[in-house]
Symmetry: C2
Subunit: 243 residues, 2 copies
DNA sequence: CGCACTTTTGAGGATAGTCAACGTCTGTGG
DNA sequence: CCACAGACGTTGACTATCCTCAAAAGTGCG
């Protein structure tokens, strides 16, 4: 488990929600978060249609959120990395409209939704933190919309890798070398492509010298080249946001 | 201006936000909503990057929300019909990340965000109403993701028409006959297609006997056929939700 | 080991994009 | 009121991108 000096355990106990709280309130907050819960690859954290009893904070591992259309097709909406909160997009209706599935062994802790809501009702700064987190969900969805609506297959795949690399960086891991937790099929689904097209994009990126791909292990050889392949003008400045 | 017995003016004064409030609180709420503001076709209600001072409620007309990518390409995220609240997806960051543009003459009223937030901090039921509205934004974004990720061109266009028809129905207008406020170019942008493809889909739907298209005027001749063209198994039951 | 599943690669084809031409609508100014 | 310009919409021909199908190679697990 990774610890960073500026944002210690809170990072893994509610995506910095507890940052918003001081002394006594923080204790209460820690109090309502339940023990870690181990889940295995393929397990579902929650299913679409279930009532929203608890919000989950992913403490380790990787989880996908997907929604199923009326004809049974899956659309992966998002891949979640440690520190992220699951189920936020269902706050409001009171029912999950996504299914969350573990991509590998993972652990989550549970925050009873009702009690979080009660706290938020009494603590405006916590309430605003929740709004901010939902807002970020929307922003991410809309970035994906842009990707699906306007970008070519290889641009989508390149941006997917750039984003993933940045997310690892934000968590203190290498941006140049990492493992894909998800299968090609899942990357393809997320990006609105087929497995074959994703595979061919990987090959192209290797031929361009941007990447080295060995199964699930990715080594970024030339980040600038990868940004170009993603249609990005140049390397985006590292986000300084602590969240 | 349309009035419905079960949800009178509130429908146009904050998308039923005021439903959550009783007597005195309702008065206060009405107090903070500013006068109607007339805007013209092409006017921008707010621009991406601006600080979020007020939330806008669309009282008449039609508005598009779009975000602009780093390379200048527009992606329309959503078309808004009367009664909807604009800017909700920016709550949290405090800055707009979309640009809202009127598609025809429209009027909006403004709700100072700070004051709404203060009220929400004191009135849990209003607060929950806001969460619910944001949640709905997320759900709609995710429906669009499914459309862009998994559906063919003609399915996208057919579903676009079905959705629009339902939205008109919810507002008490005909589901069988309506005018498209947006240009073909904008429909295409929204659906991740080209103008030509949208135009050809319209033609196909006419040849199938599902529609009659005269410029911006749409007449739905065979709703079931349109649902089928959208890949929907059969006519979805009308939503009874009062929102 | 053997089986199932995933990934890669190739060949061929369909869908939707590009380019171009033409028709239609709208608003402006004579 | 009409003429005109410019934007919008439709249609056709051609093309590129990405999907489908198929087969082989690689990977993981009981």
């Amino acid at each position: 488990m990774l610890h960073r000096p500026n944002c210690r355990d809170c990072r893994w106990r509610g995506m910095c929600i507890s940052n918003a709280l001081g002394g006594r309130e923080l204790e209460r907050f820690e109090g309502i978060a339940e023990q870690n819960n181990a889940i295995h690859k393929g397990d579902q954290v929650f299913r679409s249609g279930e009532p929203l009893r608890v919000l989950h904070v992913l403490r380790s591992g990787c989880v996908k959120s997907s929604s199923i259309s009326e004809d049974g097709a899956e659309q992966i909406i998002r891949f979640h990395l440690p520190g992220e909160m699951l189920g936020l997009n269902s706050v409001g209706t009171g029912f999950h409209h996504c299914t969350a599935t573990a991509l590998d062994s993972a652990s989550v802790c549970e925050i009873p939704y009702r009690r979080l809501q009660d706290m938020a009702d009494r603590i405006p700064v916590l309430n605003q933190r929740l709004f901010r987190m939902m807002s970020r969900e929307i922003e991410r969805d809309e970035q994906l919309l842009m990707l699906l609506g306007k970008k070519s297959a290889s641009e989508r795949v390149a941006r997917f890798l750039v984003n993933l690399s940045q997310l690892f960086g934000q968590r203190g891991f290498s941006t140049r070398e990492f493992n894909l937790t998800m299968a090609r099929r899942e990357i393809a689904n997320y990006l609105g492509l087929t497995v074959e097209t994703v595979s061919r994009s990987f090959r192209m990126f290797q031929d361009e010298g941007a990447l080295e791909v060995e199964g699930k292990h990715i080594t970024v050889r030339d980040p600038d080249c990868l940004y170009r392949l993603g249609g990005l003008p140049f390397q985006p400045a590292a986000r300084v946001s602590n969240q």
